[in-house]
Amino acid sequence: MRTASCGTMESNDCLITVKTHNRLEIVIESIVFEQFGDQIEAVIKQTLALLNIKSLFVHVKDKGALDYAIKARLMTAIQRLEENHA
């Protein structure tokens, strides 16, 4: 099981954990889930599409991170996942 994470639980940040997986699965916990849950999922999907990743387990613990922070934390987590393997 390869896993990596990035981010913090500070206000306006999120902690993203990624694991190798046989399909795409996104789990989101957020303090603004009702207002922005869909948007958070969309940003994650867009970022994965950009990186051409079709299967991954993504767990987001969000404390109100804006889109750019979600994208950045996800990208770093994925990079770290790849580095663990290499």
Binding site: G7, E10, Y68, A72, R73
Partner: protein, 285 residues
């Protein structure tokens, strides 16, 4: 021209999002000391994505990269030098590292087909850098020198004090080097975030020696620093009178003229022009 430069850790979204709220002239996104070793990758990713989403208007965007002698420095430059930033701040600068930095920046600008030319603010925080400061200041892309007194004190094996005698020579060297090259002399930050009186006194001292800006480590310091390093309303009024008198003198073909009984010659006129330029830039009047 800047008066205040605010350090902001580059790995904290909450602070980065508020970078332009505090009325500093420049914000220094810090990829170096403010970011742990294990988070250097996260900080660069966060910062680059941040620039994509946030357009910071009316504020100079400075990035303190990791030293070029570390595994991160060159990769920092490759990632962040772009039209979205203004200035690179180079830690522990020497003639050698400044030359290297400038060279790398030029290459990246060419490769990325950038519209902008990125400036450099080298940090003078080693004894050798103090000695080399004149040469460091002379590089084309360098438009300011920052004194880093805390690290310098370590290098000198001295204690930092409130009066600052131990850094007097370094301050003066940075000032001479900067002014000789027509660039900003930026003072070292004041380390107490609550003692605003102490900050004011330290800033006034720095200004009297010739510093024209000061870096800030906390938003609460900015108002004081901006105030100290801005021309006063009196200075602005006086400058206006000098320029008016100059224009009158020119009209009447008078060579020399005086204001309030003082002879006004070229350096004074130049100073007056600079004061007005600052007043306009910082919307003081």
């Amino acid at each position: 021209m800047r008066r205040s430069l605010l350090f902001i850790p580059a790995n904290t979204p909450a602070m980065m999002q508020n970078a332009d709220v505090f009325e500093a002239d420049a914000v220094i996104f810090d990829l170096e000391d403010a970011v742990q070793m294990t988070e250097k990758d996260a900080a660069v990713d966060l910062f680059t994505q941040f620039l994509n989403q946030f357009k910071l208007n009316n504020i100079e965007i400075v990035v303190r990269i990791n030293g070029l002698d570390t595994p991160f420095g060159e990769s920092d430059l490759n990632r962040i030098v772009s039209d979205q930033i203004d200035t690179i701040m180079l830690p522990k600068a020497t003639v050698q590292s400044t030359a290297l930095c400038e060279g790398l920046i030029r290459k990246i600008e060419k490769r990325k087909k950038m519209q902008k030319q990125i400036h450099i603010i080298p940090i003078i925080e080693r004894a050798v850098s103090v000695i080399e400061s004149y040469e460091i200041a002379s590089f084309e892309r360098v438009d300011g020198l920052l004194l880093g007194a805390e690290d310098l004190a370590t290098d000198l094996e001295v204690e930092r004090t409130e009066q600052g005698f131990e850094i007097l020579f370094a301050r003066s060297m940075v000032i001479m080097a900067a002014k000789a090259n027509g660039i900003d002399a930026i003072d070292t930050p004041y380390t107490s975030t609550t003692n605003l009186k102490g900050l004011e006194m330290d800033s006034v001292l720095a200004k009297s020696l010739g510093m024209n800006a000061k870096s800030c480590i906390h938003p609460n310091q900015i108002d004081t620093v901006n105030h100290v390093f801005s021309p006063s309303l009196d200075a602005i009024r006086h400058a206006k009178r000098i320029l008016e008198a100059e224009s009158e003198a020119t009209k009447s073909h008078l060579g020399a003229f005086s204001v309030d009984g003082k002879m006004i010659d070229k350096p004074i006129i130049e100073r007056a022009r600079k004061v007005i330029e600052k007043a306009k830039l910082w919307k003081i009047e």
